[in-house]
Amino acid sequence: TVLPARPPSPPRAQIPVSSSLPPPPPKPAPPKPQPHSFPPPLPPPSSSVPAPPPLPSSRPEIAASGFGPAPNTLTEPVWDTVKRDLSRIVSNLKLVVFPNPYREDPGKALRDWDLWGPFFFIVFLGLTLSWSASVKKSEVFAVAFGLLAAGAVILTLNVLLLGGHIIFFQSLSLLGYCLFPLDVGALICMLKDNVILKVVVVCVTLAWSSWAAYPFMSSAVNPRRKALALYPVFLMYVSVGFLIIAID
């Protein structure tokens, strides 16, 4: 790429989304932003047109510093986009449902929210419940889907109306990912039809889901209103649990 010839060179006509931002803090920052001494993951800022080599590994580092995809994602191969989104779903799932050190900080924990995971989990739960039901299968599915989707929206509004700080889509994403344990529980209950087993499995997965949702919800609101924010979440998961047990 040829750099512009005149000294006070204005940037070329592109939206320098992340290329004009300084390099991420962990790397030793060079004194002046020369293109060739940028840290390896970031491409030179002036190139966006030719197809540069794909940078799948740069995504997590850039995301951690909140700058978004590198400028060359406009020309990246499609397969890279697919891989990036799939790995994001997996990492979001691990962050939300399994123990990890970032749980106390909701801003950091689910920074790259996405709605694919929640969509898949809600549909899967609806399908499992519908399959387990011997009658009225489509009503069961519609009720499950409607309950979960509307429930997620209402719970988010609840937090916002309590004066909490949470981002709408981030919260939807979080509540969707927290359904994963209940999905597992519903699958087990579908395969084994023993009532005692169902009750035990549902209680365990219910506790797991609530534990997963707790830090995000509680840190989003004023400490005095924690219970007001958490109780509806727990209530929704309990009602889903009842649905799972009651279906035969």
Partner: protein, 185 residues
């Protein structure tokens, strides 16, 4: 003869594969919904297949055909302060000028037509009071409208950026002309 035909086909659409997929998922979702709701009554299958096709279409438009056909991209991210920020990205001027006009015509019109079709279908199911089908139409309509809004904002943002760049270039050119004029004098 063959070469001429090939060339005219290429001049028509710059990216035929992408255009095909852009239209395919939308068409498949609409076709599946309409055909199956008339002939087969199984709501769960209709819902799941239509919703999955609509979601795949949303992803394809947002991540693939938006990039390739019109050079635009939009997404949302959370910054360090925990605030949500909508980001818009576009290709630079030369690439935008080189984009195929037919591609972008197809892109925008299929987006609008798709949203219009789902709106019609929602109205039909509203009239018939079928709550289940309203749910399906609502989901698909929401996804189409989200893409339309996102890309329209992105296009406006791109136009603003171009105008700002033009203004800045003009200002810097004028000032450097002045400077060189004064040094000569």
């Amino acid at each position: 003869m063959d070469f001429n035909q090939q060339q005219s086909a290429d001049e028509n659409y710059g990216n035929p594969t992408t255009c095909f997929f852009h239209v395919f998922f939308k068409g498949a979702a609409l076709a599946f919904y309409i055909l199956f709701s008339f002939f087969v009554g199984n709501f769960v299958v209709i819902f799941v297949v239509t919703a999955v096709l609509a979601a795949l279409d949303f992803w394809v438009v947002k991540n693939v055909s938006g990039r390739i056909l019109v050079g635009l991209r939009w997404w949302n991210e959370i910054d360090d302060q925990g605030e949500s920020v909508w980001r818009f990205e576009c290709l630079d001027q030369e690439s935008m000028a080189r984009l195929n006009k037919k591609d972008s015509w197809l892109f925008w019109w299929t987006l609008y037509l798709n949203a219009g079709a789902w709106l019609l279908l929602s109205i039909f199911s509203l009239i018939r009071f079928e709550a289940d089908y309203i749910l399906v139409c609502g989901v698909c309509l929401t996804l189409s409208i989200a893409n339309i809004v996102g890309f329209t904002k992105c296009r406006k943002d791109a136009k603003n950026q171009v105008q700002q760049f033009a203004a800045r270039t003009l200002a810097s050119r004028v000032s450097s002309t002045f400077q060189s004029a004064f040094t000569i004098v």
